[in-house]
């Protein structure tokens, strides 16, 4: 984006904000871009940008990781995972530690790489840690469907795909929430459609905008939200990412999601059970479900003094957590917000900014 345009918008936003306004985004890539641009320093002190639970690694329950580690120990499988997942600690350690002890843990970039991996390693059972949000769901669905079509029998998926609307409901139903406006994740909307987020204005009277990830997208989004708040248009909603987002989303992607998954109750790290917030493999693809195929004992959860729940919900800043930078840091991350490089605490630690 042209520097001059950016400065113009920042100036306009700051002029409009006569009192403190809190705007939340729920997407790790939005969090990263905002930090990369140094936007907080330009919009402080009136505009506060909050980082919600938009990082799938951050919100993956400890028991999911423990299950993966138990499976690898009991059944000697190959675990395939996205990058920053390997540092996530369960109660029994992380996959990185398991890898250090000689277990076969591999990092992949695209779920579709698994097809080749499975075909080239027919003597190994490969368990893919299928985490992500709605954006990644169709890619994982396509992978499973392709594996089924090709008769691949050594590929399995341990799903932990989370859905946005239920967690947004959870946040916005909290009486203590102080979210004034919501930046909706543009790539989730690319798959599900902009209408997927209309409920925010309708049910909660908070302005919301679907935004892309360039500087111009984010600044125009913030400008829009601040303007609606100023004009008291509380139920305002706008799709500001129309170059990729249709109102109903991508029909092929949505059909695939429906073909392969079913909606289930999800467990969000630091938050707990949230109804209808996760996607599991449905009966048709049950043979790919690692949870069913590789049965292991489920452990009960330990309590922790990690404040990530409140940080994810925007009720506390990382600096307000007793563990931040003392016991919890990127090398030895305690809670989910420090684990992912896009987690609110990791970014706060790295950039030492106020969040």
């Amino acid at each position: 984006m042209d520097k001059g345009l950016a400065r113009y918008l920042i100036n306009e936003i700051n002029l409009m904000a006569t009192e403190e306004i809190k705007i939340m985004e729920v997407c790790g890539t939005h969090t990263q871009m905002i930090s990369k641009l140094g936007l907080r320093s330009l919009l402080a002190p009136k505009i506060k940008l909050l980082s919600g639970p938009g990082c799938p690694v951050c919100v993956t329950d400890e028991r999911y990781i423990d299950r993966a580690i138990e499976i690898i120990k009991k059944y000697d499988v190959t675990i395939a995972t996205f990058g920053d997942m390997i540092r996530v600690g369960g109660m029994e350690g992380s996959l990185l530690e398991a890898k250090g002890k000689g277990r076969d843990v591999r990092i992949i970039y695209s779920p579709l790489d698994l097809i080749k991996m499975a075909e080239e390693n027919r003597d190994r059972n490969i368990v893919f840690l299928g985490i992500g949000f709605e954006t990644t769901a169709p890619v994982i669905a396509l992978t499973i469907k392709t594996a089924a079509e090709r008769g691949i029998e050594n590929l399995f998926c341990l799903t932990a795909i989370k859905l946005m609307p239920p967690i947004l409901d959870y946040i916005l139903k909290q009486p203590s929430h102080n979210v004034g406006g919501l930046i909706c994740p543009g790539h989730v909307a690319t798959i599900k459609g902009s209408d997927y987020f209309r409920f925010i204005g309708v049910d909660y009277c908070i302005p919301a905008a679907v935004c892309g990830f360039e500087a111009s997208d984010i600044l125009i989004g913030i400008h829009y939200l601040v303007k609606q708040i100023r004009q008291n248009k509380k139920a305002a909603f706008k799709n500001l990412y129309r170059r990729y987002v249709r109102s109903q989303g991508n029909p092929i992607a949505n059909q695939l999601i429906e073909d392969v998954f079913k909606v289930s109750c999800g467990v969000w790290r630091g938050i707990g059970r949230v109804e209808s917030s996760t996607l599991d493999l449905n009966e048709k693809y049950a043979r790919f479900d690692a949870k069913q195929v590789f049965a292991v004992e489920e452990k009960s959860i330990k309590s922790t003094s990690c404040e990530c729940k409140d940080i994810l919900l925007g009720n506390r800043t990382p600096k307000e957590c007793k563990l931040f930078a003392q016991l919890c840091n990127p090398v030895k991350p305690y809670g989910p917000c420090m684990i992912s490089s896009e987690g609110a605490c990791a970014i706060a630690y790295r950039y030492r900014e106020e969040i």
Binding site: R7, G38, V57, I107, I108, I131, G132, A215, V331, R352
Partner: protein, 334 residues
């Protein structure tokens, strides 16, 4: 004819000698090496000597723009360069996993020999060990290097106003490795920047009195190296995002993988801290060197009274604090 390295290649006897002769001596060919016993003896003219060592365990062993061998030679030469030293001689210790393909070993040795010849440096002593299959992953190389300090260079106290120069585009090596490791099959100008910087040091010898510090931003990238410099100098660094040279191919692979270029390794770049008054002249001189055409002044030292830190002015005028890399940078999907 042997195809792979076996344990007997490491037992110090006939097969070790054959391996050394047919692979290492063949490609490192120089009198000092070939005539040496357990130690190589050489003379140096008067002057201060610099001595450094580094071990190389990079995976994959071969990557666009280089291999572990080229890296092992350039890496040690560049460490000598940061001390303002002209490299003279290197040692080379290799630890090879049983079963390693001989043809690959030869390729690596050939690469090392070629890099040495281009740089005017010789490997004059070495060691070879072979270990059981599974105890290491392929091949590890250690190189140590001796050089003579040029122009009486020594690091000097950094002052407010001193400028920071980087000798070329950042993150090329780290990005090339990441694209190989995560199988982002990329076609475009994406290669490791692995190269030796000794010619650069020779070129700027006459400005050594105005050069305060030199550092190569390897592991942890530009950001980590600058944090180390800030800590040493007890001053803050004001970095200008717009001035940092970066190839668009590097930017796009990093975007695809969710990595940050300022944290990825360079293996053929130097950071120089230069007196404000001489920085433009030094920059022009650096730009005349092969591979340094994109050198740029990227920031300066400031004394803002708080703990030494690196902060970057983003291209829209925002402010962002840049910490050191802690832990490994891993790709994200979501």
């Amino acid at each position: 004819m042997e195809q792979i390295v076996t344990l007997r290649h490491g037992d110090g006897g006939k097969y070790t000698n054959l391996l050394i002769r047919d692979i290492f001596y063949k490609h490192f060919d120089n009198k000092l090496l070939v005539n040496s016993q357990d130690a190589s003896v050489f003379e140096v003219k008067q002057g201060k000597l610099a001595f450094t060592t580094d071990s190389f365990v990079v995976k994959p062993l071969f990557f666009p723009g280089g291999d572990i061998g080229k890296l092992a030679v350039c890496g040690t030469i560049n460490d000598l360069a940061t001390a303002g030293a002209k490299p003279l001689y290197l040692s080379c210790g290799v630890i090879i996993e049983e079963g390693f393909e001989l043809s690959l070993l030869e390729k690596i040795a050939e690469s090392m020999g070629e890099t040495c010849r281009k740089t005017g440096v010789s490997i004059i002593t070495g060691d070879t060990k072979v270990v059981e299959k599974g105890s290491i992953d392929g091949l590890y190389i250690n190189t140590s290097g001796i050089g003579v300090v040029q122009g009486e260079y020594c690091p000097k106290p950094v002052c407010e106003g001193d400028r920071i120069i980087i000798t070329g585009g950042i993150a090329e090596h780290g990005t090339a490795i990441a694209s190989e490791r995560y199988q982002i099959e990329v076609q475009g100008d994406l290669q490791s920047d692995c190269m030796s910087l000794n010619k650069l040091v020779e070129r700027i010898e006459k400005y050594m009195d105005r050069i305060k510090l030199m550092k190569d931003p390897t592991r942890g990238g530009l950001a980590t190296a600058l944090n180390e410099i800030a800590e040493l100098s007890r001053l803050g660094i004001h970095l200008l995002e717009e001035c940092i040279p970066i190839k668009k191919e590097v930017e796009s692979v990093n975007q695809l993988l969710g990595l940050e270029p300022i944290y990825l390794a360079c293996e053929g770049r130097m950071i120089l801290v230069v007196d404000e008054k001489k920085c433009e002249t030094v920059l022009e001189e650096i730009r005349q060197c092969d591979g340094c055409e994109d050198a740029a002044i990227i920031g300066s030292f400031v004394n803002n009274g708080i703990r030494p830190m690196v902060f970057m002015e983003t291209y829209i005028g925002g402010r962002r604090i840049i910490g050191s890399l802690e832990g490994e940078m891993l790709p994200r999907i979501c």
